[in-house]
């Protein structure tokens, strides 16, 4: 097994270290209008209260990093993304994960960020590699590498591993060290493809064994289109943590998922004296 690498992210005042023997780092997914009609409508109306609220409550629920996405159809994404980030930085002090498919918006966001953010994301497509990686290097950020490329999303863990390897190598050529590449094995929808979960888990294990890098996942996708999603999500996230997931992008306000993460950390020996588990229990039962 390769040595486990440490990814460091920071805000102006706070540093977060991600590595395999510490508790799982929750990246809060809620600041994202995609598929959230209420947020979309609020942003379109220029109402940002919901964003501030989402930032505060996710951190209170245990998010250590916050994902910020400004994908509003028809909006000026660079401007909106900057605005959302500023909003979030006003009310919280956690590092941010800058979530955009638009290189121009990414550049704008990086230019105003103070600290070391996580960029979400690059993939193995030639166009993405050459647009995103130089920005990541220029601003000294870390980056999420999606295991897909010009040929689409590979169906086997081995092929996904190969895409991860290609991205890590290309990053290395620009001087981005492997510890600053966080791999996303892609947890697709089990509702459309029953093997989607298994493939994500096996890819995770392969990537960890081969490269020792940190692993993230949009860990709620897995249950799209199915009923009782939270039970699927919480079981899957625990299994993924065992496989090597270190920093899931998920909704920390779903208590089933949060509890599964805490229990998985405990089972993995990453919660000394079970202090996190006990603390969370007290917090839950205080009200």
């Amino acid at each position: 097994m390769t040595a486990n690498l440490t990814t460091i992210l920071s805000s102006k005042t706070k540093q977060v270290e991600i590595y395999r023997s510490r508790p799982t780092v929750m990246i809060g997914e809620r600041i994202n209008p995609t598929g959230r009609k209420k947020v979309l409508a609020a942003l379109q109306a220029g109402d940002f209260d919901i964003v501030r609220q989402d930032a505060i409550s996710q951190v209170a629920a245990g998010a250590v990093v916050l994902d910020v996405n400004a994908g509003v159809p028809g909006a000026d994404e660079p401007a909106l993304l900057k605005k959302l980030m500023q909003m979030v930085m006003e009310v919280t002090d956690v590092p941010l994960c800058i979530d955009t498919a638009d290189p121009e918006a990414l550049a704008a966001a990086l230019s105003v960020y103070e600290g070391k953010p996580l960029v979400n994301s690059v993939n193995g497509e030639e166009r993405a590699l050459s647009a995103v990686l130089p920005l990541v290097k220029e601003y000294g950020a870390a980056v999420i590498a999606l295991c897909m490329d010009d040929d689409g999303i590979p169906e086997t863990p081995e092929k996904r591993l190969a895409v991860a390897g290609k991205i890590i190598e290309r990053a290395g050529k620009l001087g981005i060290p492997p510890e600053d590449v966080v791999v996303d094995p892609l947890a697709l929808t089990m509702g459309a493809e029953s093997n989607a979960g298994r493939i994500a888990l096996e890819t995770t294990a392969l990537v960890v064994k081969e490269f020792g890098v940190n692993v993230t996942m949009g860990a709620s996708n897995i249950s799209f289109g199915l009923p009782d999603r939270k039970y699927i999500n919480s079981t899957f996230i625990a299994m993924a943590i065992h496989a090597g997931l270190t920093c899931p992008i998920t909704n920390p306000m779903v208590s089933e998922v949060m509890l599964a993460v805490l229990a998985a950390d405990l089972a993995m020996g990453r919660d000394e004296y079970a202090m996190n588990w006990i603390k969370a229990y007290r917090a839950r039962n205080k009200k």
């Binding site: 995609t34 159809p73 929808t189 509702g191 459309a192 029953s194 289109g225 199915l226 009923p227």
Partner: protein, 212 residues
């Protein structure tokens, strides 16, 4: 006889891809017309799937199984439909636009259009604007159907329409679009001719386009 139609509908609804062609065969053996089998058996089954999915009573894996059952039945039926001279009322080229891999809904709409009497050429998913252009040149369809399920790929529909315009083919086809984030005002904005919210609506729209 109506019992047989009902059982066929149920087979589609339950996603039984083995039973569905068997029942189609039985119906044919009983002398029922291929068009009637389609209209009274397969299509109502699929319609009900759409209703239940929307209501949250059916889930994606079940929708996929139903689509499969419909497809198996339709495949067996197709040569009989052709032989019976069930005339095709038009031709549709259909695809999910560039950057988008969601093809379940588009395939359903395609099937409903086939059910309504269209020949459907399915371009698959992640279809580049130029691919639409080439397909129009090659197949000379009456209608082009585009699907997008992501807010980030909606605009690909506009690009595809622009490419069709630039190729000088826009007047030759009607364009209909659909997919969860899409609506009628958006269709207007990007210069499509219409929007359909589900399979039956898509088929109705297509019929309207060809005046059937």
């Amino acid at each position: 006889m109506s019992r047989l139609y009902e059982r066929l509908s149920t087979a589609v609804l339950e996603g039984d891809a083995e039973k569905s062609p068997k029942l189609v065969q039985r119906a044919l053996d009983n002398g029922l017309g291929p068009k009637e089998i389609l209209d009274n058996g397969l299509v109502p089954g699929m319609n009900e799937v759409g209703v239940r999915f929307k209501r949250g009573d059916m889930f994606v894996p079940e929708v996929l199984m139903s689509a499969d059952a419909m497809k198996e039945g339709l495949e067996l039926l197709r040569p009989y439909l052709a032989a019976a001279g069930a005339k095709l009322i038009g031709k549709i080229v259909m695809g999910t636009v560039k950057g988008d891999l969601h093809d379940i809904g588009k395939n359903l709409v395609g099937m409903m259009c086939e059910g309504a009497g269209f020949e459907v050429i399915n371009l698959g998913f992640n279809v580049e604007p130029e691919k639409f252009v080439e397909a129009i040149k090659e197949h000379q369809p009456d209608i082009v159907g585009m699907s997008a399920l992501l807010t980030t790929t909606m605009r690909s529909m506009g690009y595809a329409i622009k490419a069709i315009e630039e190729a000088g083919l826009r007047d030759q086809v009607k364009i209909m679009i659909g997919g969860a984030p899409v609506d009628a005002p958006f269709a207007d904005r990007i210069g499509a001719d219409g929007y359909g919210s589900n399979g039956p609506a898509g088929a109705d729209l297509a019929k309207q386009f060809v005046g059937a």
